[in-house]
């Protein structure tokens, strides 16, 4: 039987080979349609994500004010940028905001997912509750929390009326705490997403792993921490990247909640750029700041490439 079948099988790849050789020619004829169909993509990729970025970088080396010009002044805009307290504080703020938001969001999101994973009867209800803030815009989020943080009429006063007269909870009025108020608002908006992604990751873990851990007598919390968590690299990376891009772009919530204040205590790079190209009419400075914002993204992409390259190398060795 097998001997009879073999020549036929051997013939098949040969046939496929000739078909593959022929395919490109017929394809090229239709590629015109493909190129025409994707004109908007070509325009966007080249026109926006390449040319616009190049222009931003070029203008960052000029003394453009209200309108862009091409009077090159070298690195002066960057030197000025890194001498400006407002910018340095923005970067520091972004760093603190990013580390706090990411850290708390990942830990709280994973905890929520783990607790949701305990055969909760009202799982859908809880999921809806944890996730609905994400459906609302960050402007809405910012305005609601601004109202809740109101020192005279918000949470602080409500609790004080209960007899707790020394209670203090109005982070937005103080320079030292305003950033934490911003973090809290952002978390309220986005933790549900981390939870949803993590929960999907938890559900994706082979159920037999759980059985094996139970037979081995490993306590549930240890299973979650030492066995399941390391198996969820995909979900963790997804949630992390989603949060990261959100953090770098943080703009709406700052405008709605604090406008960067009090003082410059919640100033952010994204706000800095927009302010310099709209209110402050200093395009060159704004573009230098924008170019700086590109740096962390580039680093992130480079790291990813490095990791992938490393993984490929490892796979090749094994």
């Amino acid at each position: 039987m097998t001997q009879i079948a073999e020549p036929g099988e051997r013939a098949a790849p040969g046939f496929a080979g000739t078909a593959a050789e022929r395919r490109p020619r017929t394809r090229r004829k239709f590629n015109i349609q493909s190129i025409l169909g994707t004109t908007p993509m070509i325009a966007t990729a080249v026109g926006v994500f390449i040319i616009c970025i190049i222009f931003s970088i070029i203008w960052s080396f000029t003394n453009s004010k209200l309108f862009p010009n091409f009077n090159f002044i070298g690195l002066q805009q960057y030197e000025r940028l890194w001498r400006t307290d407002r910018w340095i504080i923005s970067v520091q703020n972004l760093f603190v905001f990013g580390v706090l938001s990411l850290g708390v969001s990942m830990v709280f999101g994973y905890l929520l997912a783990v607790f949701m994973d305990q055969r909760i009867k009202q799982e859908d209800l809880f999921r809806s509750i944890f996730l609905y803030p994400f459906a609302m815009s960050l402007v809405v989020t910012g305005l609601v929390w601004q109202w809740m943080f109101d020192p005279n009429l918000g949470i602080q006063s409500a609790v004080r009326q209960l007899g707790w007269t020394n209670f203090e909870f109005a982070p937005l009025v103080k320079q030292e705490t305003a950033l934490y108020g911003l973090v809290l608002g952002g978390l309220w908006n986005g933790v549900g997403v981390t939870m949803a992604i993590m929960l999907a990751g938890l559900r994706g873990v082979d159920s037999e792993i759980w059985k094996a851990a139970k037979v081995d007598g490993i306590p549930t919390w240890k299973t979650y921490l030492f066995i399941v968590l390391p198996m969820m690299k995909g979900a963790i990376a997804t949630a992390f990247i989603l949060q990261c891009t959100g953090v770098v772009k943080v703009f709406d919530i700052v405008i709605a909640m604090t406008q960067g204040g009090p003082g410059v205590s919640t100033q952010m790079p994204a706000v800095y750029v927009i302010q310099h190209i709209t209110d402050r009419v200093n395009v060159g400075q704004g573009m230098a700041a924008a170019t700086m914002m590109l740096v962390p993204v580039m680093v992130l992409i480079a790291v990813q490439y490095l990791l992938r390259w490393n993984a490929n190398r490892k796979a090749g060795r094994a």
Binding site: M1, D206, E208, K211, K214, G217, I218, I227
Partner: protein, 358 residues
């Protein structure tokens, strides 16, 4: 013979669905029991109940004389091997083997000794520092068995352990499990849907359908004396021929066209009426051999399937299709008229209404 695992009146419902129904099973110390059945018959569910991974709805489970019905899996004195291996992916083989023991705070020396012994038995010592992704399927399953081994338990549970392996590896590892059983003499309960695994490994096979054990017996009895039509049809490949007819006394009349005398068939519970005669294809003789058989008839070959070692042919008697297995040397071709014969004494007769052996 002492009892190792004893299941009494066990039931399990998921909502209104009855998965297991008042099931009883006694497994002797050192016995190799295979739970065999089609998917959805409840065999894996039963194994999970024994392991304590599923809560039972009713009934009791005893392991080594101890009532473990409410005990945690780790306290039941069992080790378990899974279909997907279920190795902890980020741990080395050694860590995989020892993780449970370390969590249980066993002395280091003892852990090392057990890991050493298990890896010797399974010949996985060179793999101890590797991670599961760097192992082949067969190696992974060895490690999974090792994880059960280090627990030093009386009862091993296998949940379709070879189903994810290719045919060749499956054969190799099957032999190895048999060797392991011969060496360790532990009680083993093994779930599979593969009848060859069941026949080759088991001391006794429990054939299940719809959450009920149909027949519990040694492979020889299961094969030769199936208790009902389901068991008869499930075991054997190609499957048993069923000839429908009407039984009166010791004669089966097939559609009035043919009368088959059941002469030396030993009835356990003779009942006249609609009946089915079951004859295995390998118990039907052809040509010269057929002339020695108590029942003989002429028939025309329809299809011939050469299998290499032997040949399976399809024919019809009294309008009902019949397959038989002939030696590869016998020349058969479609349209050919041949004499076939069989001994009803080697067959099985079932009541058509109840499906039970009579």
């Amino acid at each position: 013979m002492t009892t190792s695992v004893s299941i009494k009146d066990l039931s399990l419902n998921f909502g209104n669905v009855k998965v297991l129904e008042s099931l009883d099973l006694e497994v002797a110390q050192g016995e190799f029991i295979v739970l065999l059945g089609p998917s959805g018959c409840g065999k894996s569910t039963l194994l999970n109940c024994i392991a304590g991974l599923l809560d039972v709805s009713d009934g009791q489970i005893f392991i080594s004389g101890k009532n473990v019905t409410w005990d945690e899996p780790k306290d039941r004195g069992i080790g378990m091997v899974f279909q997907s291996y279920a190795l902890y992916p980020q741990m080395t083989v050694e860590k995989n083997l020892s993780f449970g023991l370390r969590v249980a705070r066993m002395p280091k020396a003892e852990i090392e000794a057990r890991v050493k012994r298990a890896s010797e038995i399974l010949q996985i010592e060179p793999l101890l520092q590797r991670k599961p992704v760097e192992l082949s399927g067969g190696q992974r399953q060895r490690v999974a068995i090792g994880r059960a081994l280090v627990r030093d338990v009386d009862v091993f549970l296998f949940d379709e352990p070879l189903s994810n392996l290719d045919a060749k590896l499956r054969n190799d590892l099957r032999i190895e499990i048999k060797r392991l059983h011969a060496r360790l003499k532990n009680t083993m309960i093994y779930v599979t849907h593969d009848q060859i695994e069941a026949m080759t490994l088991a001391d006794r096979i429990a054939i299940m359908k719809n959450g009920v054990i149909q027949q519990l017996a040694d492979p020889h009895t299961i094969y030769n004396k199936p208790v009902n039509l389901f068991v008869a049809g499930f075991i054997g490949s190609p499957s048993m021929n069923f000839i429908k007819g009407d039984l009166s006394g010791t004669t089966l009349s097939v559609d009035g066209q043919a009368n088959i005398p059941l002469g030396n068939y030993q009835f356990a519970n003779q009942t006249n009426g609609a009946s089915i005669l079951g004859i295995r294809p390998e118990h039907i003789a052809v040509g010269e051999e057929a002339k020695k058989m108590p029942v003989q008839m002429e028939s025309e070959i329809e299809i011939v399937e050469p299998m290499g070692a032997d040949t399976v042919a399809w024919t019809k008697i009294a309008g009902q299709s019949l397959t038989f297995r002939a030696a590869a040397e016998v020349h058969l071709e479609p349209g050919q008229k041949v004499l076939i014969g069989f001994d009803p004494g080697r067959g099985s007769v079932f009541n058509a209404a109840s499906g039970n052996r009579i």
